[in-house]
């Protein structure tokens, strides 16, 4: 057997194995120790020596013409080295992360509050802040388009030189009229979700400096170094070799750090270096970050759903409107994902959906963990509970009659081929003791007048990785050093979830060595090739395949040498515990390290580039029908709440969460994203809300925008991992990074409805809103 066949055979064997060497075992994060010791890791910690400070002059208007910019007073200030406007940009004035609709610095118009108009460069933050006040921008305010329904009117002012409706995304399955004619009951509701901020704790930050050879190096905090790099090269108007972007440790991602603002901050610092020849540092204040960071889209969703008397869904009609703010960012893709998932994980024979992504003069909405799925599931899952209520059946019952099972067709008529959802659903119902708790709480609520208890459920499916959202590929470089240590480097990034630890685990598994022999190197655009964006929970699924490809190539090269040394054929070799042996017999084996030095001595190249690209997905843009994603993650969440009917305060006591991770490669990482995502989702459900008043963000701070503290965390989150292997992911892995943030809004809202007896169809469920709902329900009862 040739070594290539050996590799393929072994790879298939490993993929099917239930017993792994390292996969699924607890491997701790390698960098945790640096963090607890407070070692310098983040961009702001790495700044040394003399440097200039650069900061943007931002628009106080949400919509205005720029009649003139006078920088002369600012330039005269002591300590000010440059003031940069759109005229001074050497290359292209475009910072749009995907669509070139957004200037780095405004030209003749500002379209949202806080849009950057100029950059001030000087020594010392106070000097720069003073000079910012001296940049005279003459604005002529324009009418502000505050909400998407206003923007969709034919006579609405145009935000950009294009229609305000960016995308009209359609799903047409079956025959909707026919569907409704079969319905015994119909439920119609409107749901509204708010603008939210992913809010990584570290704000946008970049430090750039000139190298001796004239190249500019930029260290920054981001998810996608290559997006930033490509844009900065264009903005500076220089050659690809003139810029180098390095990702420092990144204090949280959650989407915003993959979107527009990391490009801005890096461009600010690099432009300042280009202009002055000196090192420059740029950092957003919390206020700036909360104002201009890409938000989670505010959605309005109208659903009309028909079911038969025995609870079978027959028809579902939806209209989804997403407010993407003044520039598109990823809005056209977010609306696609939301629309694809608009019926929730249920089989409906007739579906008609229209999704609109609309421009307004609000601040930009773009990538945020979950990418349209939390909003879609919130509306779909409340709709399911409304149907159950109308039919007088249990929420679990209506779901059991309609969930996607093997062989079911989704809203896009894609056939589901695994039972992940059924398993997750069954597990949460059982583990949470759903039926018993439901009864208990109802009894209790009859006697308790102030505190009411509720239990709610929500289910999800989540089309994996990019699908329609872009080229789904990854490259991972792996090399084995002469001492036998293994180095993995990729353009995919770590920002807290431990996703890259999965790559380490996969490489260690295939080479049969302890994970501690493998280390990751920081992403550096001059050292690795692009690996596509670190978004859409891609790292383990797609990056894992590329890492497996690289490790498998290396294994093949080593196997050839070992087979010669041990006098066997390569397919008899077992790689385990740092020993390569014939059939696992350690007496007929060679140490991994010894083998590596032998291979290097023979001149075997132990440096490879692994690559994987997911099969392209196809669907019809006119009907949305087809297979937009290669595989689906499934999940189920039960939340238990207490509602204080005098204050309207909702407390989440317990969450039981089951997710189908396909294959658990990194259990600690999985737990980390489940716990973290659940609480982030809890914040979305109860308190978080970016408030625009006439386009102006009125609460850009951490006391105005309230995220959960340790006190709001539920007493218990019960995480359940389900493994129903996916078609494409490494070892069957499915996307997990974003998933746990999707369901809390829906599940908590259903639990609150159970507690107080009325549905609240607008988030967040803040005390005033809950109280109002309770009072209205009481009035109706009387």
């Amino acid at each position: 057997m040739s070594s290539e066949e050996e590799i393929l055979k072994r790879f298939a064997a490993i993929e099917q194995a239930r017993e792994f060497y390292i996969i699924g075992k607890k491997v701790s994060r390698v960098d945790a120790l640096d963090a607890v010791l407070g070692r310098p890791m983040y961009t702001g910690d790495l700044v040394t020596g003399d440097f200039l400070f650069v900061k943007a002059v931002r628009s106080p208007y949400a919509h205005a013409l720029i009649k003139g910019i006078d920088i002369s007073r600012a330039l005269k200030q002591r300590g000010i080295e440059a003031v940069i406007t759109h005229r001074d940009i050497p290359g292209e004035n475009d910072a749009g992360s995907l669509i070139p609709d957004r200037p780095l610095l405004a030209v003749d118009k500002v379209r949202h509050y806080g849009e950057a108009v100029a950059l001030v460069v000087g020594s010392g933050i106070e000097t720069v802040e003073e000079a910012i006040r001296l940049v005279d921008v003459e604005y002529e305010p324009l009418p502000v388009v505050k909400d998407p329904f206003e923007a969709m009117k034919p006579d609405a002012p145009r935000i950009q030189n294009r229609d305000n409706i960016v995308t009209h995304f359609k799903i047409r399955k079956g025959n909707i009229e026919e569907g409704f004619s079969k319905a015994d009951i119909i439920v119609e509701n409107t749901y509204k979700t708010q603008f939210m901020d992913g809010l990584p704790l570290e704000t946008e930050v970049a430090y750039a400096f000139p190298e001796k050879d004239g190249r500019i190096t930029c260290i920054s905090s981001m998810q996608n170094p290559f997006d930033v790099y490509n844009k900065v090269v264009k903005i500076l108007g220089v050659g690809p070799e003139d810029v180098r972007v390095i990702q420092a440790a990144t204090g949280g991602g959650f989407g915003p750090k993959s979107d527009e603002t990391p490009i801005d901050i890096a461009a600010y610092a690099c432009l300042a270096v280009k202009k002055t020849g000196k090192p420059a540092f740029a950092v957003f204040t919390r206020e700036e970050a909360t104002t201009v960071q890409s938000k989670r889209h505010a959605f309005t969703i109208r659903h009309k759903t028909g079911a038969t008397r025995d609870g079978k869904l027959v028809a579902w009609k939806s209209e989804l409107v997403a407010d993407t703010g003044a520039y598109i960012s990823k809005g056209h893709l977010v609306i696609a994902r939301a629309t694809f998932h608009c019926t929730g994980p249920y089989e409906v024979p007739h579906v008609w959906a229209d999704g609109y992504c609309v421009l307004t003069n609000n601040t930009i909405a773009g990538s945020t963990r979950g990418f349209g799925a939390p909003q879609a599931h919130f509306a779909a899952e409340l709709q399911m509970d409304a149907l159950a209520k109308k039919l007088g059946i249990d929420p679990v019952e209506i779901r059991a009659r309609n969930i996607l099972r093997p062989g079911s067709l989704t809203a896009t008529s894609q056939r589901i081929d695994d039972a992940g959802l059924e398993i997750c659903f069954g597990k949460v119902v059982e583990t949470a003791r759903w039926h018993q708790k439901r009864r208990e709480y109802e009894e209790l609520n009859r006697t308790s007048s102030r505190i009411k208890k509720g239990i709610g459920i929500a289910l999800l499916y989540h089309g994996n990785t990019l699908g329609p959202e872009g080229e789904d590929f990854a490259t991972v470089h792996v090399r084995i050093e002469e001492d036998g240590s293994v180095v993995v480097q990729t353009g995919l990034t770590e920002y807290g979830t431990g996703a890259l630890t999965s790559l380490v685990i996969i490489v260690a598994e295939i080479l049969g060595i302890p994970a501690s022999w493998v280390r990751m190197e920081r992403p550096d655009t001059s050292a690795v090739t692009s690996s596509g964006p670190t978004v859409a929970s891609r790292t383990t699924v797609i990056g894992g395949r590329a890492a497996a490809d690289a490790a498998t190539q290396l294994r093949g090269r080593l196997a050839e040498v070992a087979a010669g040394l041990l006098g066997c054929s390569p397919d008899e070799l077992v790689f385990k515990d740092g020993v390569v042996s014939v059939g696992g017999d350690r007496r007929r084996g060679i140490g991994f390290r010894e083998l590596v030095s032998e291979a290097s001595r023979r001149g075997v190249e132990l440096r490879v580039r692994g690559y994987y690209i997911a099969p392209p997905t196809r669907w019809d843009p006119e009907t949305g029908q087809g297979a937009p994603y290669n595989q689906y993650t499934f999940g189920a969440l039960v939340s238990e709440v207490e509602v204080d009917t005098e204050t309207g305060l909702v407390v989440v006591k317990r969450m039981t969460a089951a997710y189908d991770a396909g294959r658990v490669i990194n259990p600690l990482g999985l737990l980390a994203v489940i716990e973290g995502g659940s609480i982030q989702g809890l914040g979305h459900a109860l308190t978080e809300e970016i408030i625009h008043e006439n386009g102006v963000v009125v609460n850009p701070s951490l006391h105005g925008y309230i995220i959960p503290t340790a006190s709001e965390a539920p007493e218990w989150i019960e995480p359940i991992a389900v493994e129903s292997p996916g078609r494409i992911g490494a070892f069957g892995a499915k996307a997990m990074g974003e998933i746990p943030v999707v369901l809390p809004m829906a599940s908590i809202a259903n639990a609150v409805a159970h507690a107080i007896g009325v549905f609240i169809r607008e988030t967040p469920l803040k005390p005033e809103r809950v109280l109002k709902a309770i009072r209205e329900a009481e009035r109706k009862e009387r």
Partner: protein
């Protein structure tokens, strides 16, 4: 970051057990002094506004937000930062507990949380879960969901 102001004032205090003197503008906060003058970057800036706790240090053994603490308040007193917890270059038990419990994701909140935990355990070596939650209310973490953080703190209580 560094302020351009020309007027500076001298402040002396004890930092991680050693006396130090700095000359900084009087409007400087302890956070600015630590990070930008003394280059002790373990203490983080998450808001500069007293809302997130990333900048938490000990002032005479009590947890304070260093972004809201002016240098005049520090004069003559004793400051401990995350760097000062190392004993003979081995991590403090609170630091180890955080690393071992998986209480660290992006790590940006971690030094502040460790200092808040330290302050709690110094005044109350055996806190209840409720007391831990209350003591950590001023420290935001966006990544972990706090479960592992509580686990870490409970691991080191007496």
């Amino acid at each position: 970051m560094r302020r351009g102001s020309a007027v500076v004032k001298r402040f002396s205090f004890v930092l991680n057990g050693k006396p130090v003197e700095v000359e900084v503008p009087p409007a400087y906060t302890l956070l600015e002094t630590l990070r930008n003058v003394l280059h002790l970057t373990g203490t983080k800036d998450g808001c500069g506004d007293g809302d997130c706790g990333a900048c938490t240090v000990l002032l005479d053994g009590r947890a304070v937000h260093s972004c809201l603490t002016l240098m005049a308040q520090v004069e003559g007193r004793s400051v401990t930062t995350v760097e000062g917890l190392l004993r003979d270059s081995s991590p403090d038990e609170v630091q180890s507990a955080y690393a071992e419990s998986g209480a660290v994701q992006c790590g940006y909140c971690t030094p502040g949380l460790i200092m808040a935990t330290k302050a709690l355990l110094m005044s109350n070596p055996n806190p209840s879960v409720e007391e831990v939650k209350e003591a950590l209310r001023g420290n935001l973490c966006r990544c972990t969901g706090y479960a592992k953080i509580l686990e870490a703190v409970l691991r080191v209580r007496r």
